[in-house]
Symmetry: C2
Subunit: 321 residues, 2 copies
C-alpha cells in the first residue's frame, strides 16, 4: 500500500466518482467556538464514500476477471458502491444480503443493476453461500475494507482533502474519520502522509464499538463485545482489518469515541448549518469534531454517508434541531 | 448588464463564495426516466445563492460608501447574504425585519454580524423607516434583485453551470431556476447566453404566484393577486423586477408552474437521492424538472436554498419520503 496506488485509483475514477466539496458554515463555527470543515462524502454518487472503493476495486480487475463478475456481502453502502461500479463497467455483480434486510436497500441494490441473493441469517452461513456462488461463476469477492484496491480507492478522499485544506489555508488539523473496519481511515492516512503531513487522522466510533480506538491503544486487533446495539449501523464492524490496523497504528490516532445521541445531534447541526443529509454512522466524525475535548481551533471531519431512512432523520431533527 | 459584469463579480467573490457542485443520482434518474442535474446552491456559504449577490454588491461599492455601510430589507436569505458579505468586508450593516419574523431568523442575521432593526408590519412603513436610517447614516440600500451588481453576482451561478454542464457532456438542456423577482434567473440567463447558449433558463414558481410566467407570456410586468399563501415563502415577490423582466423576456421561458405539494415532494426526493436539504422555495425548480410535461432526456435544476425549519422538513419527509 502506498501513495502511488491511491493516485492510480484516482486516475481510474476520474469522471466517474464525484469530487465532493469541503463545506463549512460561519454560524456553526461561531456556535461551537472553532472552525469546522466537513468533507461531504454523503454527496458522493451512491450517497457514501463506498462508491470510491467499489470503483477502484472493479476497475483494477483484469479484463477476464471483470467479465466474469464480482460478488460482495453487504446490506448497505458497500453493496451500492460495488453494484454501481460493476454496472458502469458492464461487469456482472452478485450482492449477498440477509433476507431480513430493509426492502428499500434490496430494491436500491437491484436498481443499481446488481443480482441480489438473499440468505437466512439464522439458518444459513453467508460465507459458505458466497464462496459457492463465487466458485461456480468465477466471481471475484470485493471485501468491504481489507483489500488493497479498496483502501486505495477510499484514499482518494485524502488526496482531495489535502488539496482542499490547502485552498482554505489549513496545514495542521486533526481529521476525524468515521471508522468501521478502517478502510477509509487507512486510505486517507496514507494519502495525507504523502500530501499533507500536518493533517492527522483520528478514527471516530460509537461508544461500545470502539474496537479501533482500543486496538490503536493496545497495538493488536481488539474485538467489540457485541455485534449490534448502536444507531450507527454502518460502522459496526467486529474488529479492525488485518491490512488497515498496521497502517493506522503507524499514522493515526488516538481514536475518538462518541455517543449515539452525539451522532444524532451532529446530524441535526449538519441539517441546520450545512444543509446536508447524514446517516448516524456517517455523522460520527462530525460528532467527534463538534463535541470532543481539547481540540485545536481548526478541525476537519469526513462525513461519510447519507443513506438514512426518513423516520430516523426526522427523529434526529425532532430531538436536536 | 453584460457578461463582463458577471465575470468581474466572479473575480471579486473568488475564495469567499463557494463554487457549488452539480449533483446527480443514478437512482433518481431511473425513477423519473430522465437525467436530472442539480446545481446545489443550498450548499452555498449562507445556505442560499443570495450570498453571491450580497458579496457582489458590497464588494462593488466605492471604499467610502462601504465604510459608511449598507442596509437591506429582508427576513430571509437576502438578509443573511448581505450580512455575511458586509461582515467580511468590515462594512456596517443594518437589516430591517418585521418584528414578527421568526426568532431564529433574527438571531441568525445578528450572528452574521448585522444590526437588526425591527418594525411593526401593521403600523409602520418599512420603506419610510429604511429611507430615514439610510439617509441618517449614509447607508447604501442593497435591493434583493433589481440591482445590476446583485444580478451580476447571481449570474456567477450561470458561469459555473456552463463549465459543469460541459464537464458532464451536456450542451443542450432546459435550466429550471426558482424565481422570485428574477435576479437569479436573469443573471444565469445572461451568463448562459455568453457561455452555453444551448442551455435555456425557465423560471419556476408556485401556482398562484406565477407572476413571472405570466409576465413572460404577456410581455409586461404582471402582479400576483395575493402577497402570501404558498409554502414557497422565499420566492413570493409581488411582480418581476424592472431590470430582470427585459432580460428574461429576451433570453428565457416559458416559465414553469409547480404546486406546493410538488415542492415538498421534490424536497423528499432530494433528501433520499441527493442527500441535500432544500427549503420549499428552493425546491421549486427541481419540482419543475421532476414533474414537468414534455421534457427532454436531460434537464438541469438550480436548487436555490436550504434554510428550512425542521418541522416543515420533517413534514415533507413524512408525506413524501
Amino acid at each position: 500500500m502506498n501513495i502511488d496506488m491511491i493516485e492510480a485509483a484516482a486516475r481510474r475514477m476520474s469522471g466517474h466518482v464525484r469530487r465532493t466539496p469541503l463545506l463549512n458554515a460561519p454560524l456553526l463555527d461561531r456556535a461551537i467556538g472553532r472552525r469546522i470543515f466537513v468533507k461531504a462524502e454523503c454527496l458522493q454518487i451512491t450517497g457514501s464514500f463506498k462508491a470510491r472503493g467499489g470503483w477502484s476495486a472493479v476497475s483494477a480487475l483484469a479484463p477476464e476477471a471483470r467479465a466474469r463478475g464480482v460478488i460482495a456481502y453487504s446490506s448497505g453502502n458497500h453493496a451500492q458502491g460495488v453494484a454501481h461500479a460493476a454496472a458502469r463497467h458492464g461487469a456482472p455483480c452478485v450482492i449477498l444480503m440477509p433476507s431480513d434486510a430493509p426492502q428499500v436497500k434490496i430494491a436500491n441494490t437491484r436498481a443499481y443493476g446488481a443480482e441480489v441473493v438473499l440468505y437466512d441469517r439464522s439458518t444459513e452461513d453467508r460465507d459458505a453461500i458466497g464462496a459457492r456462488i463465487a466458485a461456480d461463476r468465477g466471481l471475484t469477492l470485493i471485501k468491504p475494507y481489507d483489500d488493497p484496491q479498496v483502501i486505495a480507492g477510499q484514499g482518494t478522499v485524502g488526496l482531495e482533502l489535502a488539496e482542499q485544506a490547502a485552498e482554505v489555508g489549513v496545514a495542521e488539523a486533526p481529521v476525524f474519520v468515521c471508522c468501521g473496519g478502517g478502510g477509509l481511515s487507512s486510505g486517507i492516512a496514507l494519502a495525507l502522509e504523502a500530501r499533507a503531513p500536518g493533517l492527522r487522522v483520528h478514527t471516530a466510533e460509537p461508544l461500545g464499538f470502539e474496537d479501533m480506538a482500543r486496538s490503536l491503544a493496545s497495538g493488536r486487533r481488539e474485538r467489540n463485545p457485541a455485534p449490534s446495539g448502536s444507531i450507527c449501523d454502518a460502522i459496526l464492524t467486529p474488529s479492525p482489518g488485518e491490512l488497515t490496523l498496521p497502517i493506522l497504528s503507524r499514522l493515526a490516532g488516538p481514536g475518538a469515541v462518541i455517543s449515539d445521541d452525539q451522532a444524532l445531534q451532529a446530524m441535526a447541526l449538519a441539517f441546520t448549518h450545512l444543509r446536508i443529509v447524514l446517516e448516524p454512522g456517517g455523522a460520527a466524525a462530525l460528532a467527534a469534531a463538534l463535541f470532543g475535548d481539547d481540540l485545536p481551533g481548526t478541525v476537519i471531519a469526513v462525513a461519510t454517508g447519507g443513506n438514512v431512512d426518513p423516520a430516523t432523520f426526522a427523529a434526529a431533527l425532532d430531538r436536536f434541531a
